[in-house]
Amino acid sequence: MKNIFHCHRLAIVISIGLFFLPFFWLKQGFVDLGSDGGRLYFLDPLVFFLNNFKEQNPLGIMFYATIPHTFLLFLIKSVLNNSTNLIAIDRGIQLSMAFYVTYLVIRELLSSSENIIKPIYIPWASIVGGIVYAGFISTINWPVTLLTQNQIFLNPLLFFLFFRYMRTKNFLYGLGVLVVTIVWSANFGFGVTPQIVSFFPLSCLFLFLYIRILLRKSIPWKGLGFLTLCFVGLHTFHLLPLVASFFDKGGMIRGIYLSGEAIGKRGVYYFDFNHLDLGKISTQLFQPSQWNGQTFLILLVPIITLLGFLRKPSKLLALFGIFFAITLFLVSANITTIGVQFYRMLFHIPGFSMFRSFNEKWYFVYAFFYSLLFSVSFYQLFVKKRTIVAIFVGLCVIGSIGYRIYPFLQGKAVNTTHWQSKNVSVVFTMDPNLMDAVGYIKMLPNDGNVLTLPLTFPNYQIAYGKEGGAYVGISIVQFLGGRKDFPGFWSFGPYQKTVFEALQKEDVPGLLQVLSLRNIRYVFRNTDERIMDDFPGFPYVYPGEMYYAKDVIPLIKNQTAYAKLLSQMPLQERFQKGFYSLYELDAVKIRPTVYIPDVLYASVSGALSGSSYRSAFGNELTCTTAKTLDMVCDGSSIQGILPDISFIKPSNTTYDLTIDLKERKDPFLVVLSEDYHSSWEMKVDSKKEGLTHIGINGYANAWIVEPEKIGNGGVIHATIKLGFQKYYTYGWIISGATAMFLILGVLYKGVRKLYGKK
């Protein structure tokens, strides 16, 4: 008993050590915030939280689940007031919890399945297993860790809580599951669907088999059903919009996972192209670290894992072996030609394209089952041996892992350089001038979007820190400044090729038309020469046509060329500090967010070559619809006196319009420069009569207004609202009600228990 206590204390000491380790990785004041998913919530969690909260539209689905978690980060940061320590705490939790909870899982599984518990063997096997798991997870991409990486400890933690709940039927463990899922809500949203789908079905199946077949106990189905209901209820604030988008024809989620392109190009094509490079059985078995990866020490864990099978047959080991074999097949996806063809076929299952990067997506579940299998094997192998042998071999395993991941423990995985850069460090201190510029952007009126220069190939923003390296990641202007930003070619959506060609042909009026059509009013420029010189891979790699040489677009080949380009545009400087400047484009050249077009073209080329900065263009469907109302996409001015329009924007999803019809009787268009969605709805006096919703300008919304049907020749007041937003409202109501129900339930139970005791 004393030994068990010592082992448990040792596990706690190791996990405390692992928690404090990341505090030594970054110098005070330094941060690493980049990556394509963005880690800006470490810099300013409150602003990140508020910006996400405002996104009650189809785009919001992507980040909405992060709201409770970023709020938690805000609470922690308000105590620390330091991003460096916030990052260290986040990583410390990941490391220490990953070890400690894996230790608990192994201890629990082994204790439950053994008749006679030998004092030292189970906790020792659990500690060694926990260290093995910590060694495995050290190989993942730590410099750009996203919220998804929390899976490394959330998976074992939820497995443990579920297991305890199913064994003891004590609802407190169920409550633990709910609390954990809401605190780390980001790990249960849209962005981590592959990690959820890869882990939970397999681990639930394992638990079911373990409890029913091995322990011969009943499953608390009713309790699990209630728990599921509570989980869904609590998470409705982000799940409801997600589900609504799934059932929305042409909706984003449907497009990402279910379209023919998702299955073909994103799924099968990607898999065919990459599976040989990504699917490595040896790498998955040996789990080599970035350093000291190719030594004989990598053999220790797989050999012990296999040797366990040479002892007397054990149902527990057999069960773990089956799950290990399944996950190894999935994580390598490269075992035999038939196996590869089988994995390829799986892409025809709706949504399976999320597993095209199979080596990443199945990794967490694989590493988990591999560690558990190792521990059970280790236990089987040494349970009949002398204690000293088990301790010695365990120490050898721990030593071999410690040796291999020692550079990781020193923080070398984090202190690295940017890909496609001239050894630019990912660690830096924030430039206060940049933060001042972002602060200025926050204060701008909500009347247009921002273009960030220099343009990059995908949609990253690059900014050097005051000290150290540079930030390369999602737009700071958008995620901290709260303004829709266009930092790279990809962000222009249907216009990306047009922008590229306009720049290549030095067609400045054409470029201005694109900026105007995309409602870009401000230009945010970083004049730092280093971001052009030190990142040879940016910004000239254009999709489809790989341009690595900067001379391909002389107009933006360096900062001098950018200065020349901007001198040809009607700009007025609004802000300048350090490397950062903000300009405003001439209002005459910029189409307002809501406007009435004076010319209607049948294609983008017409609008680009035209002289009007209030024109619009439709596609075939739009023009056919317009024609039924005597509006022709012929590039001629729309006949008659056009109404005047003004608007205010009370929220991100509502516009209040005032239209002076000037006695106009003929139909006219009202364009809203927001991404098209069928649920955008315009109403005049709460009526939709005389208003036909169409798509315009390749991405935006428009309504054909028929004044005669509205029946008012003077000034009318209209509203435009995004109907989709209602799902967020309903979601919050349901989530709030579930939270209240749970809090009251716990209080009631607590009071009753207290009373009972008295």
Binding site: K280, L299, I303, F309, L310, A318, A325
Partner: protein, 114 residues
């Protein structure tokens, strides 16, 4: 007795052939297709059928391949040959696992409680 000797000899020949196919496959002779797996495992299952051995033999084979894969991996990394050995390892591991699972559930006299 004579028949038993012949059976052992035949089994050893089968096992030898499995190894021959394995090593020939590693030279790329079969263009890394599934044919050597099919032939190799047909012979191996015949060997198992004749000898009626436990899953341990398959795991010993898997262990040998694991070590071989490790020796191949340490100097060269995850190359074509290493990965091919990995495929053989996986198949022997799965073969052993099937036998092992069967033994764990059907031979209570030699198994642990769980």
């Amino acid at each position: 007795m004579e028949r038993n000797k012949q059976r052992i000899l035949f089994s050893l020949i089968l096992l030898f052939l499995v190894f021959v196919i394995l090593f020939v496959d590693l030279t790329g002779f079969f263009n890394y297709s599934d044919v050597p797996f099919l032939i190799g495992f047909s012979l191996y299952f015949l060997f198992l059928f004749i000898q009626k051995v436990t899953g341990k033999v398959s795991f010993v084979m898997a262990l040998f391949l694991l070590l071989y894969m490790g020796i191949s991996y340490i100097p060269t990394g995850a190359g074509r040959i290493t990965e091919r050995i990995g495929e053989w390892f996986y198949l022997f591991f799965v073969a052993g696992l099937i036998q092992y699972t069967k033994e764990a559930w059907t031979k209570p006299h030699i198994q642990k409680k769980y």
